[in-house]
Symmetry: C2
Subunit: 358 residues, 2 copies
């Protein structure tokens, strides 16, 4: 089903994804929004690491923990109070009002020497999982969760070959512990104008692996994890969830399709259903670990069907900074300054615990 | 002045560094400490990134926010209450009781395929900046701060060519906001059995730069920063402190000696004095930014005089997650999952602010 398209008062796109039998009924966004700033952000190149950094100074003013009756993600039937001018919705996606990346333009240039910068072109979207202000992804009905997956898939299709976009990143940050400023269940999508550092490293590793062994790095690792078994959390005919051998976070689970695919577009209907099921399963296990829901980051690693990204294997990396009922892991000097991660738990212990929470 | 050496009850090293005229008087550590575990930690190799991860499961039990009268870093004149069995001290260094890395052994091996692990050999030391339970590095008298620098220098000399150690990392984590569990002013030193990922990337970039241009990457960047001037925070005859062009953190300052040196051992007495002065100056500016002291990470980037590390230029990278008086920056999905940093402030604004706080 194609989404219903609308525009917000300042021209931003708004897309409604509806469950069967539901018909979105957007109203006019009548808020007096400021005009969008075409120079919202800039990229700066760090010569010492070869990485781009996004400088988005206007984001300092973004919405910060509003009271529930002023939530900008709840439906706004009057068209005066919300980012979603409609009496109700199932799943919506709209362009972020405070984007780190925005506007059309070429991808980030190949950097020369000295101080190199470029406009922060790209795309930042918000995905509201449900019109209910409270709740979580883990609590969605399977058909509703499947609709979110459909929204991710639609947005990926739209953005993955858009001019200037090198990488499409669907993700969710959940929990005040990791800085979430709006509690209404939602995720985000970034369209970066460059390959992110972690993705670039993983693709380089995979290319090297293929040159040396002929196979796909991620497929080989998945096969090894399945053969070992000690870190498997859940496995279905179509998907496998495991704690990776060298997990960096106190809770870390990766979900792979059992068959190689680069992104959600390369999965069939049955696989998308299977993905929804195992993803809900893992998130529900997370929330059974402690009395309070687990704060987590969910990161969908998707790759384009291009020469540069050919070795990328679609998967989700879920991670949490909670290291016990009352303690968090902080990224201190070893992690933040040297990228050297230290884990306080063994991946096997975490996997055992999560297996028991199914 | 050579430090006074002692041993803790379980055999760990303890070193006293004293101000002129002070004579350390350690007493016997009479605590019934458990024997040290030679297998405290393991390294695991992440094939998807080419990075080692340290798994130190016993650290879950490490001392967590003890009440002030049970602080293990305060002097313990009875030899029964503290990690520092002595009536008083100026600066002490001792091996961490809950180390991420410990024991002698070869450096991390060159990893093959599949699940690769290795013993977590190396060294973790604690550096107590002062016997006073409250206070901070920024509040130390210059001569006392200079003694801490001397302790860093001594430990660097001891460890930088020790068998199995590839990188010596002196650092401070300050503030509960970044997870500090002991408030007594202290820093730490890690001797890693491998080159940390960030250091490896920086050295690779510097090597590339030298091949292409003949000069040193860091020296060239320093010269550019000085010529530009817009991000300079403080500059003396011997040292320069600036906010880097592509800063990743809400507050980030790098301090470089104006003359190329790889580590503290290659600095002369006058330079060590000058380093102490500018380091104190920057930390004092940090604490004037907001009503409460600024949480920060201080990371000393030191390099060995070896072929592999020849292009490394000694400097300190200071960073803070505080982005306003009442808000912190969290490393959410873009940073944690993709290593793609987004900054909410321009480096020029931060530099201007810090210049005004001198």
């Amino acid at each position: 089903m194609a989404p219903t398209r609308a525009k917000l008062a300042d021209g931003r796109d708004l897309l409604f994804f509806a469950l069967p039998g539901h018909r979105p009924a957007p109203v006019t966004d009548r808020r007096p929004l400021p005009a969008r700033d075409p120079d919202q952000s800039w990229l700066r190149y760090d010569q010492t690491t070869g990485q781009w950094v996004i400088v988005a100074a206007r984001r300092q003013d973004r919405t910060y923990k509003p009271p529930p009756d002023q939530c900008p993600l709840c439906p706004g039937p009057t068209g005066l109070t919300s980012e979603v001018p409609a009496p109700d919705y199932d799943v919506v996606v709209f362009e972020n009002q405070f984007p780190s990346l925005s506007g059309d333009g070429p991808a980030a240039p190949v950097p020369g020497d000295g101080f190199v910068s470029a406009p922060g072109h790209g795309r930042c979207e918000v995905v509201c999982f449900s019109s209910a202000h409270t709740g979580s992804f883990a609590g969605l009905e399977p058909a509703h969760a499947r609709l979110v997956v459909e929204a991710w898939r639609h947005r990926t299709a739209d953005l993955i070959h858009a001019p200037g976009i090198e990488q499409v990143f669907c993700f969710e940050n959940r929990g005040e512990e990791i800085g979430v400023t709006l509690t209404h269940p939602h995720g985000q999508i970034y369209g970066y104008p460059y390959l992110t550092p972690r993705t670039a490293v993983m693709l380089a590793r995979a290319r090297e692996h293929r040159m040396r062994h002929g196979g796909n790095l991620f497929a080989d690792l998945l096969a090894r994890e399945v053969a070992d078994g000690g870190r498997i959390v859940a496995r279905t005919e179509l998907f496998t969830a495991f704690v990776p051998f060298a997990a960096r976070w106190p809770v870390e689970v990766h979900i792979y399709p059992n068959r190689f695919a680069r992104n959600l577009l390369e999965l069939g209907e049955e696989e998308l259903d299977g993905f929804t099921r195992i993803y809900l399963d893992v998130l529900q296990r997370f929330d059974r670990m402690y009395e309070a829901p687990l704060p987590y980051i969910s990161a969908l690693h998707q790759y384009a069907d291009t020469e540069a990204q050919a070795d990328g294997y679609f998967h989700v990396e879920l991670m949490s900074i909670r290291r016990s009922a009352d303690k968090l892991k902080y990224l201190a000097a070893s992690e933040s300054a040297m990228d050297a991660f230290i884990s306080d738990v063994t991946p096997e212990d975490v996997a055992r615990r999560l297996r028991g929470l199914g």
